[in-house]
């Protein structure tokens, strides 16, 4: 008790001015907390979310084909589990981890829950809002599939395959998401995506595509060949000088100047292209910073042991460079994820933000000022994913930091 009092006195009420500040900001915080609490549990009319949950999550994806999405989610969970297990199996095989490390223990379960409790809580919340059993079954199957994949994966990873076998494994792993994409898309056409699913889809595709492009641009900007350097530098500076919103509008409108409508790619594809090109320019500058942080001695040592220039970059410089700038890279990718809402505004895609606005003018909810509720919901969805990315990046940084100087 007295320690609490000492702590309070020391940190909050040390001088008269401290006391005044504490009281003022304490009251302000309490008031904000009260208002928020009241909004969430008393005044907020959340039925609009409940009624429109499907629209918010998957847009106008046709009812007849919703099963495809469920299948996709379950297969992706299996795929993710397999991949995680496969990687662990490889680590065990190469001796970086022992089999004992991968024993299921209470500590590992606690660790996993601690890592992922926020997105898990969100999933549970969303399930509570559903009125049909479908989503429950889907999530149940997805969890089961992920577990099965995680248990089977290590056996695949531990196999000693001939080169052709390894190539086949890589090919199958790479092909599954592509096959799923077409499976989903053939039901509705390229622009049938909508809701939060569309934001996730745009972000994941753009992230996967922009990363290698960013690395190449960063290396190109430091290249010894003047022409390569010029092209990369010009690209980076031009793209970074243009607002993302303008680029999105241009992709929507100006493409018609060059390509006939029949050949023009779908709107969501154009959005992915713009996000990819835009973010790659920023990633390139971040990665260039990382490249510059690798001491000259590292390159000299790599040269001295006889590594070729490509291997010097691939084995010595890049791994250190990328690790050194993980926080900035993840920041850029989180920013990209949130910017996918701009595609809704600029290109008329029916993403989560657009849905959030549109449902407030439904007959049942028109003129009731429910935009606060729907925007709060949208913000929550984005926050949970962004925050999870940020936490995972910190974890990654810690894990890769083992060998740091």
């Amino acid at each position: 008790m007295s320690t609490t009092r000492t702590w309070l006195r020391h940190n909050l009420f040390r001088t008269r001015r401290d006391t005044v500040l504490t009281v003022v900001f304490g009251l302000l915080a309490l008031w904000l907390l009260y208002k928020t609490f009241r909004f969430i549990f008393v005044t907020g009319r959340w039925s609009i979310i409940e009624v429109n949950l499907q629209l918010l999550m998957i847009g106008r994806y046709p009812e007849a084909h919703v099963l495809r999405l469920a299948v996709t989610v379950v297969v992706l969970a299996l795929w993710g589990g397999l991949l995680a297990g496969f990687i662990r199996g490889r680590q065990v095989r190469s001796g970086r981890m022992t089999a004992a490390d991968s024993k299921l223990s209470r500590a590992r379960v606690t660790d996993l829950v601690e890592r992922l409790w926020i997105p898990l809580a969100l999933v549970v919340l969303l399930l509570m809002l559903t009125s049909t059993p479908g989503p429950w079954i889907m999530v149940g199957l997805a969890v089961a599939a992920a577990l099965v994949g995680r248990l089977v994966g290590p056996f695949v990873g531990r196999l000693r395959l001939p080169p052709i076998g390894s190539l086949l494994v890589v090919f199958v792993f790479g092909a599954i998401p592509v096959v799923l994409y077409f499976y989903v898309v053939t039901a509705v056409g390229f622009d049938g995506w909508g809701g939060f699913m569309l934001n996730l889809f745009l972000a994941v595709c753009s992230i996967i595509l922009c990363y290698p492009l960013g690395v190449l641009l960063a290396l190109g900007r430091r290249s010894g060949l003047p022409l390569v350097r010029l092209v990369c530098t010009t690209y980076i500076e031009v793209i970074r000088g243009a607002p993302l919103f303008v680029l999105l509008l241009l992709a929507n409108v100006a493409l018609g100047f060059f390509v006939p409508d029949s050949l023009a790619p779908a709107t969501s594809t154009r959005a992915i292209v713009v996000f990819t090109f835009f973010t790659a320019a920023y990633m390139a500058e971040i990665i260039r910073g990382g490249l510059q942080s690798v001491p000259r001695g590292q390159i000299e040592a790599a040269k001295a042991v006889g590594l070729s220039p490509i291997r010097q970059t691939g084995y010595i410089v890049l791994p250190q460079a990328l690790r050194n700038v993980i926080p900035a890279q993840i920041g850029q990718l989180i920013s990209l994820f949130k910017d996918t809402t701009l595609a809704g505004i600029a290109m008329g895609l029916f993403d989560l933000l657009q849905v959030s606005g549109a449902i407030t003018s439904q007959e049942d909810f028109r003129g009731q000022g429910l935009i606060a509720e729907t925007l709060t919901f949208a913000a929550l969805m984005f926050w949970v994913v962004s925050y999870t990315m940020s936490r995972e990046s910190q974890r990654l940084e810690k894990r890769l930091g083992v060998g740091i100087r």
């Binding site: 291997r311 250190q320 060998g403 100087r405």
Partner: protein, 263 residues
């Protein structure tokens, strides 16, 4: 010993002492400029197989630049450098070949911090010599035994002392089975109590018959191990001789001055 001696005479100094040798490294009339500053001025030196040459001199005298030219970490501007019969040219394949034949140990170790000790050693044999992983790791462990730290194989460089790191760096250079080892002030960045362990490793290497060029300030090492000592100042080789000659009866005034300053 610079202008008045031709390069053959320089080489003869060594052969006279230690019998006839095959020539491993030939450096002829080499110049090196950094902008307007001339770091190396008409350097001539021949190093025989299995010979240990120690290069000493005040800082800024071009010692490091000289050995960095041998494996093309610096490009020389004039003259020629021949390593084991291959002349250094701008052809990348030539450079790669010479780098495979020469190991280098740096003042600041330059171990790869993101790789374990064993991976540091096995990377080049596996990727450049295409050695199978198991065989490379066997070789890596042998080399770690040789430098007396096999128990550190799984650690990362950042978890080791400077002396241990430098011994790993020596093992890494040896993993490519080089014909020549270049040491660029290998003990200058070490705490005094760790210098001994690194020098011991180097002495052992010299006894095993490795051709070595060592830039160092460790006069005790030069006296004990060197076949020849090269004294450089202001980008020139001032005097070359056996350790006895060099430390007991140096010829040049510049050498005498340097020795009086450090001994």
């Amino acid at each position: 010993m610079t202008e008045q001696h031709d390069d053959a005479a320089v080489f003869d100094d060594a052969t006279a002492m230690t019998g006839t040798r095959d020539v491993m490294i030939e450096i002829e009339h080499v110049d090196k400029f950094f902008g307007d500053f001339q770091a190396l001025k008409d350097i001539n030196l021949k190093v025989g197989a299995q010979e240990v040459v120690v290069v000493i001199g005040p800082s800024g005298s071009g010692k490091s630049t000289l050995i960095r030219c041998i494996n093309r970490l610096e490009e020389h501007d004039g003259g020629r450098i021949v390593v084991d019969g291959t002349e250094l040219s701008n052809d990348i394949r030539n450079i790669q070949e010479i780098r495979r034949e020469t190991g280098m140990v740096f003042q600041s170790f330059n171990l790869f911090p993101h790789l374990t000790v064993l991976d540091n050693i096995t990377l080049a044999p596996r990727k450049v010599r295409r050695m199978p992983k198991a065989k490379a790791e066997e070789l890596g462990m042998e080399l770690l035994e040789m430098v007396k730290i096999p128990e550190q194989a799984g650690k990362y460089p950042g978890q080791m002392s400077g002396g241990q790191q430098q011994r790993v760096a020596i093992a890494r250079a040896l993993a490519m089975n080089p014909k020549v080892m270049l040491f660029d002030e290998p003990t200058s960045a070490l705490d005094p109590e760790m210098i001994g362990e690194v020098l011991d490793t180097m002495k052992e290497l010299a006894r095993s018959g490795m051709t070595m060029i060592v830039v160092t300030h460790e006069m005790g090492f030069a006296r004990e191990v060197a076949d020849r000592v090269v004294f450089m100042a202001d980008g020139q080789i001032v005097e070359v001789g056996t350790p006895e000659h060099f430390f007991e009866s140096p010829r040049e005034d510049r050498t005498k001055l340097f020795l009086s300053q450090i001994l």
